[in-house]
Point group: C2
Chain length 386, copies 2
């Protein structure tokens, strides 16, 4: 089955779609758990599957450095290397060379950087990055982009847009937007940049639309700018992107961020937030956040979220989770991660159902009301306790 | 169904039995994974179940200190607190107050010690320890014992035997050997002590046999004495214990230790070795140990053990496991732990099948030959590499 995307319903700016890949059809909006180094931290592949996830993300930068592309290729591609039957997306590495590596030089040709692991010197060119992702074998690869940060001098933001478009063209020329090295289809999405400048975002969106990618990401947001700016820029960008292509907002966010993005026509999201917060003992519920180490949970025999169907909520109490965190048991982050990802997937399922029903707006308001009220009450109790 | 034990077959000193509890029937010989603080480190309850384990161990000393017995009791007992449907055994805490806590005073009455967590002062009396274990809700509890270490002055070893018998009597007087606080039967096993003195071991075994416990443990071994001494003392003790009761050798060991114990009529074993080694990257296979961080596994696309049916062997390669260990991914110890426990359970199943077939001796020799040959070859390769 070739890659395809179909919007099935719309409601108040939100979309319900189906993203078809050779590794399964994925209902959108979808949140993609992050498996940076070939593992969603703390979960087996079966655990990830049980959260409801069918599309997960791997980081090209990390996998390229360790274990290296040759091994992944010899193992039969990333799906087989990590034992994942669902679909996979790899990012371009553009964000990581900027944020994690020591960036040595950015030229028209590409980026030279030093590994954050051992300081070794490497070069990413747009052609090499597309080749690397094809060899890694993701169902969806990302065009190599240049991310200049926010805030960003206008001249630097202009350079970011120009380089990102030029690199996209070179990537397309070298590899095309579709390939099938492993006998299944691999497609490439473009990434819109432009920092905090609406006109540059618009220019980037126009240039990428002309390049006719199977899908588009909005990159370089949620890096310190205000939420108003995030949503303004997201909205302005999605409006310019072709309605028949999936839109992927990179690196967001909290449950409220997720549904705020969905409300603006975003179809795909990813973030380390639910997994990283889980490891720190913070879980998300329909009634806001719970900080599991808090003394208030010492005797709390409730599940994390009584309406949740995850492995932690079906089998365990808050008191047990708290005990595991205080005892530094690995099972603590494992269960909290399962919960957070299940909750994220559940939230996307509920949002989609609301779109299909045609009452996304009412669902959105009810979700936000309940989540923020619970969060406020928790904060108030925490203040009384301290 | 009341607690019972039945020996179904014997072969060359080894026994195949059935240990029946209200939380299921357990085939013996059995290895019990250790869930010290209410979690087998790195595994969910389902993961533990999938290794084949049906009887796991909790540590009274740890659970008493954290999260405390009241919470476990209010949660409905340890099974419900940790979400485990199989059977549970708790140790007596006698070994931990000696090895982990700061031991303050040992008197006829009991033991005073300081917590290894916060230095707080606590007292374990034989009556309190039996009450604590009953409240924790294990299917099998252990009589409170006094462990003097090995080597041990004879006078101290004599004291250990005398105290352990006296405390067993007091525990029995206070609680009996069977109770049902949670609506299922809880039984108590006695622990034979006697350090490295065969005559004291014999005295302890005789005194405990007179007390008519539903099962017997051999305590205080594998603490630094020679393997010859371990097996000599084990053999001398099992010979004196009633043939119709299960025999539990505490704190052993490697796969070879397991089957050496089984060869001497041991029915039950526990140890942190397979789980601790797994976390350090060492796994056991039919062909000996593998140290997963070794460079030789960098490109090794074999499963850990091609004959193993565990989640790691069915889905993953040595190269992937090595990558996870080098990347400090939690999934590394998780998968290695699943493997080691599955391998231990498998080894016990194979040993049992050999006993039932009546050719335990041939099976034992084949297992030892293959395991030690593989281990020697690994060691030889490691030497060449370094």
């Amino acid at each position: 089955m070739p890659f395809s995307f179909r919007v099935e319903a719309r409601s108040h700016g939100a979309r319900a779609g189906i993203l078809s890949t050779d590794h399964g059809a994925i209902e959108t909006p979808v949140f993609m758990p992050v498996g940076t180094q070939g593992s969603v931290k703390g979960l087996t592949s079966r655990d990830v599957w049980d959260t409801g996830a069918r599309l997960i993300l791997g980081n090209t930068y990390h996998l390229y450095l360790r274990p290296g592309v040759s091994l992944i290729e010899r193992a039969g591609g990333l799906h087989r290397f990590i034992g994942w039957d669902g679909a996979l997306l790899t990012d371009s590495g553009g964000y990581q060379v900027f944020s994690l590596a020591s960036l040595m030089r950015v030229s028209d040709l590409g980026v030279t950087f030093r590994s954050h692991i051992d300081g070794s010197l490497h070069e990413f060119t747009p052609e090499a990055v597309m080749e690397t992702q094809a060899r890694i074998g993701a169902d969806i690869a990302m065009s190599f982009d240049y991310f200049g940060g926010i805030p960003c001098e206008r001249v630097e933001a202009e350079r970011s847009v120009a380089l990102t478009t030029a690199w996209a063209r070179r990537g397309l020329k070298a590899m095309g937007a579709r390939s099938d090295r492993y006998g299944y289809e691999q497609v490439v999405f473009g990434i819109v940049q432009g920092a905090e400048y609406p006109d540059l975002r618009a220019r980037s969106a126009r240039e990428f639309t002309e390049l006719d990618f199977p899908g588009y990401a909005i990159g370089g947001l949620s890096v310190g700018e205000s939420k108003d700016a995030t949503w303004d820029l997201t909205e302005r960008t999605t409006e310019l992107l072709p309605v028949d292509r999936p839109r992927y907002l990179m690196g967001m966010g909290t449950p409220l961020d997720l549904i705020d993005a969905v409300a603006r026509g975003v179809d795909m999201l990813d973030c380390v937030l639910p997994t990283r917060n889980a490891r720190n003992g913070t879980v998300f519920t329909r009634d806001g956040r719970l900080v599991l180490r808090n003394a208030r949970h010492a005797d709390d025999l409730m599940p994390l979220d009584p309406e949740c169907g995850c492995v932690a909520c079906k089998n365990h109490t808050r008191a047990y989770l708290r005990h595991l965190f205080l005892s530094n048991e690995m099972l603590a982050p494992m269960l909290a991660t399962s919960h957070n990802l299940f909750f994220y997937a559940d939230t996307m399922r509920a949002a989609r159902a609301a779109v299909v029903r045609g009452d996304f707006d009412a669902w959105y308001r009810a979700f936000v009301d309940r989540f923020t009220r619970g969060d406020r009450e928790s904060a108030a109790r925490a203040e009384v306790e301290t």
